[in-house]
């Protein structure tokens, strides 16, 4: 069904991505692996903004930014330049942030996402670099803390800001865009998006052609959808009361799941942007073709390849390539000789489902274990149901192995005489059902099958059981007749 967008929702996003896979910060040699270290131990005169210290551009950071720009189908600028954004805040040791203004690294790109109504092309306005400020830490909560502590370990870490055009038409599309962007970033290996604060979103939204609000401080994809849904309701209520939506900056309160006004347009900061005199403009046009050569296979291309090369279902290919680790896991399992169809179904559907349910990632499952399970399934040694039981046991308990679980739970498929014996017993033990069947009630057969399956705890092949029961009934009949 066609998506109407009756509220004329227009959403544009600004996404800050920490380039935390770089060893060093944007303008100095301080290391970026500060996450588990003492505050203010990853600092130097440059990222502390000490008087006289000068920034020097991290070439690798620029290369990462170009990589992302290319992956978002952007044009790479011929020259790029840094600017100063001036404002006072305790987390900003220089009293300005080095960022970009005119001449960003990349501009005018686009990516395609699954929209409300078929494909949606989301235009990318620009991708530019800037430095992360430090981090403010409050004792307890921000309202009740008597003081604020400042940690400059984060100060100067390279950030990439991706700015979209207002092409998104619903909170769901915004979330899908973020998922896709995160997916691409992961494939490019420029950021560990799972680290705290690695991705931060500002969302601009307007309805019915009115003024837009900008909501800051959104730290997750789920939160962005919630914040946007809240904003639509809020803006609709404003209109319903006959008022107009004002242009303003709002703050997303994650705990209360609402947005609160931070400042209106009149109170907007004048950042007094001007070119950073300590960094000269530099040519990046020549870098782009070389970097393009080194781009890895991106999710869209990989999905197409999985379908073409392995002949797997489109849905499975989508799930597998939504996460680099999952796709890699899949291909590695294939390389070890697993059956393609079995592997794609088991990883994309069953395993992924069990992992999601537990909030776990593919890291917590071993390839060898899956290979063993797939091999048992392929050889018909266990049923699908037992396979799932093994997966669950492996995820929920420690120090387990597939063979131990199979043995311990007696999950090997029951075959031959053992099944025949059980069928015999079932036929003898359910005289009424047998009589019903003979009187033409076919459902009675299902009842007997169920009895056998119960007895085997699902370890027999139900089709085979059915065949055996029919065979058995006919034999019995023959016996009576004779």
């Amino acid at each position: 069904m066609a998506y109407e967008n009756k509220d004329q929702v227009k959403i544009g996003l600004e996404i800050h991505i920490q380039l935390n896979k770089l060893n060093t910060k944007m303008f100095c040699g301080c290391r970026t692996d500060y996450q588990s270290d003492e505050p203010n131990t990853h600092t130097c005169p440059i990222c502390l903004g000490l008087p006289g210290a000068l920034p020097v551009v991290n070439k690798k950071a620029v290369e990462c930014a170009i990589k992302v720009g290319l992956a978002l189908n952007c044009k790479i600028s011929e020259y790029t330049q840094f600017y100063r954004k001036n404002y006072y805040y305790p987390d900003l040791p220089k009293g300005f942030q080095i960022t970009q203004y005119d001449y960003p690294i990349a501009h005018d790109g686009s990516i395609i996402i699954e929209g409300e109504d078929g494909e949606r092309c989301v235009r990318i306005n620009r991708a530019h670099m800037e430095e992360d400020p430090g981090r403010l830490v409050h004792e307890g909560s921000i309202e009740h803390s008597k003081y604020t502590l400042v940690d400059y370990n984060r100060s100067g870490v390279a950030l990439l800001e991706v700015v979209t055009e207002p092409d998104l038409q619903s909170p769901k599309e915004a979330r899908r865009f973020l998922d896709k962007l995160r997916n691409i970033i992961e494939y490019l290996d420029v950021s560990d998006v799972n680290l705290e604060g690695a991705v931060r979103v500002d969302a601009n939204i307007s309805i019915m052609g009115g003024q837009r609000s900008e909501t800051k401080n959104i730290s997750s994809h789920k939160a962005s959808e919630k914040a946007l849904l809240y904003e639509i309701v809020r803006q609709k209520n404003v209109l319903r009361r006959g008022k107009t939506v004002v242009q303003e900056t709002r703050h997303f309160d994650e705990a209360r799941e609402i947005t609160v006004s931070l400042r209106t347009k009149e109170e907007a900061h004048d950042y007094r942007y001007f070119p950073e005199p300590d960094l000269v403009p530099f040519r990046i046009a020549d870098l782009a073709p070389m970097i393009k050569e080194t781009l890895p296979e991106l999710p869209d291309a990989q999905r197409e390849r999985f379908i073409a090369q392995y002949g797997i279902q489109e849905e499975h290919a989508k799930t597998l390539t939504a996460e680099l680790k999952l796709a890699t896991f899949f291909e590695e399992v294939l390389f070890k000789g697993a059956d393609v169809m079995l592997a794609s179904t088991w990883i994309a559907d069953l395993l992924k489902g069990e992992l999601n349910y537990r909030g776990k990632t593919i890291d917590s499952f071993s390839k060898t274990d899956l290979l063993e399970i797939l091999s048992l399934l392929e050889k018909n040694k266990i049923t699908e149901k037992s396979g799932i039981e093994i997966v669950r046991t492996l995820l929920d308990t420690q120090n387990q192995s597939v063979s131990r679980i199979v043995k311990g739970k007696g999950l090997l498929r029951i075959e031959g005489d053992e099944v025949t014996e059980m069928v015999k017993q079932a036929v003898e033990g359910n005289k009424d059902a047998v009589a019903d069947y003979k009187n033409g009630k076919n459902e009675a057969l299902n009842f007997i099958v169920g009895a056998v399956m119960k007895k085997t705890r699902g370890r027999a092949d139900p089709k085979k059981v059915r065949e055996l029961i029919i065979q058995q009934l006919h034999t019995t009949q023959a016996g009576i007749n004779s």
């Binding site: 210290a53 000068l54 551009v57 006072y88 220089k94 300005f96 007094r272 942007y273 300590d278």
Partner: protein, 469 residues
């Protein structure tokens, strides 16, 4: 009385008496003069470094450092209350290079607060006396460095020049001061006033010493992205025969002291006697330089000085939330001239005025630069007065900021363009020195230093000493 002043003389003294004795004499002289040329003296450390001095082009030679250049372990204040007590945990690149050559840092010299001034009167630590006349200013903003040299306190000093801050005090105190080409000397560790304009500059009592100091501190530094990969050799002698000199008429404008004008023309004729040819040349955009300079310098300053909020170092006023505390710290910590420039600079960069002032100033800057580029297609060097007049009286202009700004009329175009210029003594007016400015093409420090050296050899202005010594 001291018997040594130039670097060669100092080295001879060190050979017989030892570097520690030379350093000791410096401190005695500073105390005796009492010009207020230093903010911080590095007595213990300097004596110990001198005792262990061994090797290098400046082995054991005392040097004074302007107080806006970061020195590891030595208080660096920019002559501002806001940085009182700030001790840098790192050295500026120029300091590293000086230490590598065995120089001994005597102390940190007085200056206009954050290098904003032409008289060294805006210092939080009080004004500096001109050694030639205690009632006159030494010029600024590197007034402490110039006074220390003229007063025989040190043989070498570093200053910084954003719009004339090395050349003006050199001119007023009768010493030599070089503003290098933008990018020739690393700014790493120089506390920024206006980054796109300024350079650290050598100051000395002779051209040869200034050239030596320049050769020690100049050269590419990967920590300063605006520094340039160039080799400097200023020692190779230059033949003056057939050298083409341009004399820009715009540098002899209104308000020019006639004795200064005459002294500069006499200098031009001296060069003629040495075999050079001169011609008058027009630099049509000179008249817009001052306005463009002040807009650019103040705009950059308004951003550069934002970091002084009292949170991490220097003066801190405890009051209310962080923004109240920042405001109070800055209200208490900055002097009037600094506040004036921050306000004007913030205004010039603000939305609605940015294009009208800042962008316009950048365009003028390009035109001024083009004046120089076209002049250097024909001429090897330009000659002009450094300052329109000799040192003025302490207190004479400080209440009238605009007249102080106008004093920079002949120095700021050089910073806008980025070319090098050196000021050398070329005469006296009422027992006060007059400075000649030799302006060179980009990275052609060699020509102006060699020419200045020849001029120095053919005159005796540099031999005269305050008090007739």
């Amino acid at each position: 009385m001291i018997t040594w002043q130039s670097v060669p003389e100092t080295k001879r003294f060190i050979e017989t008496e030892g570097a520690a004795e030379a350093v000791h004499r410096c401190f005695e002289r500073i105390k005796q003069n009492d010009f207020n040329s230093f903010i911080t003296l590095n007595i213990e450390d300097a004596l110990s470094v001198a005792e262990h001095a061994s090797g290098g082009r400046l082995c054991g030679v005392p040097i004074a450092i302007k107080d806006n250049i970061s020195t590891h372990g030595i208080q660096t204040t920019c002559a501002s209350k806001i940085l009182t007590g700030y001790i840098p945990p790192y050295n500026a690149t120029v300091i590293e290079r000086l230490e590598r050559e065995g120089a001994v840092i005597i102390g940190k010299t007085n200056m206009d607060e954050f290098a904003m001034g032409t008289s060294t009167e805006t210092s939080y630590y009080g004004a500096v006396e001109n050694p030639w006349n205690g009632r006159c200013v030494p010029g600024g903003s590197s007034g402490g460095s110039a006074a220390a040299l003229a007063g025989g306190e040190v043989p070498l000093a570093l200053g910084s020049d954003t719009g004339g801050s090395v050349r003006c005090p050199a001119s007023f105190c009768g010493v030599v001061g070089l503003k290098p080409t933008y990018g020739a000397v690393s700014r790493y560790g120089l506390i920024s006033y206006a980054n796109s304009l300024e350079q650290i500059g050598p100051m000395a009592t002779t051209v040869a010493d200034a050239a030596l100091l320049f050769n020690v501190v100049a050269g590419y530094d990967k920590r300063d992205s605006t520094s340039v990969k160039k080799q400097f050799d200023t020692t190779e002698p230059l033949d003056m025969k057939g050298m083409k000199i341009g004399v820009p008429g715009e540098y002899f404008g209104e308000g020019m002291n006639s004795v200064v004008e005459k002294a500069v023309w006499n200098a031009v004729y001296s060069f003629e006697d040495l075999g050079a040819e001169y011609k008058e040349v027009s630099m049509p955009h000179t008249k817009y330089s001052l306005a463009a300079y002040y807009i650019i310098a103040m705009s950059e300053a308004s951003s550069n000085l934002a970091r002084f909020d009292g949170l991490r170092y220097g003066h801190h006023a405890e009051e209310g939330d962080c923004h109240t505390s920042f405001s109070k710290t800055r209200a208490e910590g900055f002097g009037d001239e600094v506040k004036r420039r921050i306000l004007l600079g913030s205004y010039a960069l603000s939305a609605g005025y940015h294009d009208k002032y800042y962008l316009k100033a950048l365009k003028v800057r390009t035109l001024v630069k083009k004046d120089f580029e076209s002049a250097f297609k024909t001429y090897d060097m330009l000659l002009a007065p450094t300052m329109p007049y000799p040192a003025f009286k302490l207190g004479e202009k400080i209440k009238d900021p605009l007249s102080l700004y106008l004093a920079d009329v002949n120095t700021v175009p050089i910073n806008l363009a980025g070319v090098p210029a050196v000021s050398v003594p070329c005469g006296f007016e009422n027992k006060l020195p007059v400075g000649l400015q030799l302006i060179g093409d980009f990275f052609d420090e060699k020509t102006i230093l060699q020419a200045a050296h020849k001029f120095e050899n053919s005159t005796d202005f540099h031999n005269r000493r305050p008090g007739g010594e």
